[in-house]
Amino acid sequence: MYSRAPFIFFVLILVLIGLGSIYYRHVEMGVPLTAGEQIEIWQIEAQLEFTGNDAAVNAKLTLPTDINYTLLDETTASPAYGVHVLRDELKAEVIWSKRRVQGKQTLYYKASYKKAVNPGTEPAAQGSPELEVWPEPYQGSAQILLDDAFNKSGNQATLVLQLLDLLNSDHQHMAMLLSKYSKSEVLVQLMTMAEMPAMLVRGLVLEGGRRNQQLIPLIKAFINDAWQIINVDSATTLNDLPILVWQQDSPSLFDVEGGRNSKIFFSISKSSQSGLLEANRLINRDDVIDFGLYHLPIDQQNLFRGILLLPIGALVVVFLRVIIGLKCSGTFMPILIATSFIQTELVNGVIGFLLIVSIGLVIRSYLSHLNLLLVSRISAVVIVVIGIIILFTVLAFRLGLTEALTISFFPMIIMAWTIERMSILWEEEGGKEVLIQGGGSLIVAVIAYLMMDNVLIRHWAFNFLGVHCLIMAVILLMGQYTGYRLLELRRFKPMAED
């Protein structure tokens, strides 16, 4: 007797590796769970214009560091300028420089962003910012407004809502404050007075097809242990449109030394892309340990797309034989037939298979009269199969049946062996057994094909290699299944009656 513990342990390890790898691929790398999943990509173009003073120019544009968005790529277009993109933990900026500039200049910076798959959390606010006291009577009015809002609220979140309400009301103190300060400044001042960390940032509303956009003032406030973006004009904390925070912690958005009349515009366009492609593009760049096959040349990738379907087919065969108890000729012959069905499509494939096997059987029955040795006979059958395939291909082409041309995808050696086995089966056990086993093989092949041709299964088999660990675990478990097969329940039916 032996212990089952190591076996169970091994299966568990496989399941854990499989699930872990699937989790990692999906959650950390953003590989989508379904094949056709699209993600939105925003292409943002910043257009910086200025007039040169006939002197050296250093133009600096602050770039976004919003952790809720992932930068996919960036480019600059600026004739004859030296361009540097500087990025570190605190800030990101692009600097254009040129020794001598005169006349109107236009510099472009383009970037594409997508929503981050798994955004990190921003560090919590370090205490509340220092209060800069406004001159009277403004500071007094602000205090009155804050007291008013404070009394009508229960916690930080409702206080913010009250302040926003006040901001858009025609309260006389508010009117006075707004005569000197902008709405955003007032709100930040009020929140700072309430010891809630808040700061002014500027961001871009991401909406496709917009041109000549400017950054809008926003307030980033630390409410209930999380940073939130408040759009003062829409007077809400819920963003209908996504907002990319562009400028934060830096005094100016752009800064042109040696130029005048400087202006900046943003235009935004939205596009959809396959989530899968994007996920894999990022993997290439980050160069982390990955379980994907996207580093391989396309040829190899396509090869593996096919190979990685075989475990699915094997699973089907094991299930149908061990659990259902279907008889088929040759253990894995049906999988190979199923892979050729993928090329030929199902109906063509089944018709082609039946044609090749039946004609092969007729010719094989003649060969058996020639009294040949086994190896020669099978070799002869191989050649006959090739002949049949050529014949049908040419016939189909002449008749204009282009769908039938795919018949040449059948594996010829396998077909020859199938014919040989069926033929022997016919001679020894009769036509009925040939129909049972041939039909069984065909059923297994069709089921395997339907599984292997499923878009979702193909996607999983290639993109989540962890699936194969799970398949392995299931196959191992079925390898120790000692219960009855489904068809045995029918076979032993008389035994259960009395």
């Binding site: 190896v375 022997i424 000692t482 329940l489 032993f492 008389p494 035994m495 259960a496």
Partner: protein, 316 residues
């Protein structure tokens, strides 16, 4: 669902399924290295002679293609004979010749076979047409069995044989296989042969099935199957029990025929015997297998002790 048995009922009645047979018995008890002892009939025969197990006489062996034409020298001395592939399975490739005369060689069906056909058959055997995995094989020529008159009217063309399942050397379940017109003279139950369950204790028929359904008479001859009593039953049990030591396989199917003169002879052994024997006997084999597995010191028992145990305990 009306056509399916309840798996729990089957389990309760001790019916063994294919998966359990493969995993818990064949996989666990039958060492792969010993398979050639039973898969190669020539080797089985050699072993049988060493262990004193009665087998049909060996007339000759054809090993190479160039010897094929010499087969007629060997055959000339014998009237009836049987040509088999040494590594054949499931009764494939067995050519039985009842007698030879001026017209050629006569098969049990009455058809005559020309010399060409015999040469072709042997060539096929040598090329591995009938062997497991298609490997090259040798042709074994055996003396014909003159079957015991007790089987008169019970078999169509083929030789009736008795299949015994021997577990750890204990004969555990037995069935008589009668070929029919439907099975084309073959003794395989799934091809339509009749299976008659035999009581291990007495050698008497218990019940009979064809195509898994109970029957009472032979479908071709109409002879009553319940009257069958196998002669030399005790000797047959000894013979089958001895096959364990000879082959080394703990889960074994022994196919035994009764010869008119020589008594029971082991025709062939099978390392993967089928499950139809349970249907023929109307009982599952798991309780018996478990009883033997649960025994102490079962390996030190002699053949006689094991047969006695089987007769006492497996008598229903």
């Amino acid at each position: 669902m009306r056509n399916l048995a309840n798996p729990f009922t089957l389990r309760e009645r001790g019916i063994m399924g294919m998966n359990q047979r493969n995993f818990s018995y064949i996989g666990r008890y039958n060492d792969r290295a010993l398979y050639p002892n039973v898969d190669d009939k020539l080797k089985t025969k050699t072993l049988a002679l060493e262990y004193g197990i009665a087998v049909p006489d060996l007339i000759g062996v054809i090993r190479y293609q160039h010897q094929v034409t010499h087969v007629f020298d060997i055959l000339a001395k014998h009237n009836g004979f049987c040509i088999k592939p040494a590594k054949g399975s499931g009764g494939k490739g067995i050519l039985v010749i009842l007698h030879s005369d001026a017209n050629g060689y006569q098969k049990p069906s009455g058809d005559y076979v020309p010399k060409d056909e015999i040469i072709r058959h042997i060539s096929n055997i040598l090329a591995g047409l009938f062997s497991l995995g298609g490997t090259a094989d040798v042709a074994v020529i055996e003396a014909l069995i003159e079957f015991d008159p007790i089987f008169d009217g019970l078999s169509h063309e083929g030789v009736p044989d008795i299949r015994l399942i021997v577990f750890q050397g204990y004969p555990m379940m037995a069935m008589l296989r009668l070929s029919t017109h439907a099975s084309d003279g073959k003794a395989n139950l799934h091809q339509g042969a009749v299976g008659v369950g035999i009581d291990i204790a007495t050698g008497k028929a218990k019940r009979a099935v064809q195509y898994d359904q109970p029957i009472t008479t032979h479908p071709d001859t109409g002879k009553k199957l319940a009257d069958i009593q196998i002669s030399d039953w005790q000797q047959l049990l000894y013979l089958s029990a001895g096959c364990f030591e000879m082959s080394g396989l703990a889960y074994l199917g022994a196919d035994i025929v009764l010869d008119k003169q020589k008594g029971p002879l082991v025709l062939e052994l099978n390392a993967r015997p089928g499950l139809a024997i349970q249907i023929a006997n109307g009982i599952g084999m798991l309780p018996r297998l478990k009883a033997i597995e649960a025994m102490d010191r079962r390996r030190t028992k002699s053949i006689a002790e094991r047969v006695d145990y089987a007769i006492k305990n497996f008598n229903n």
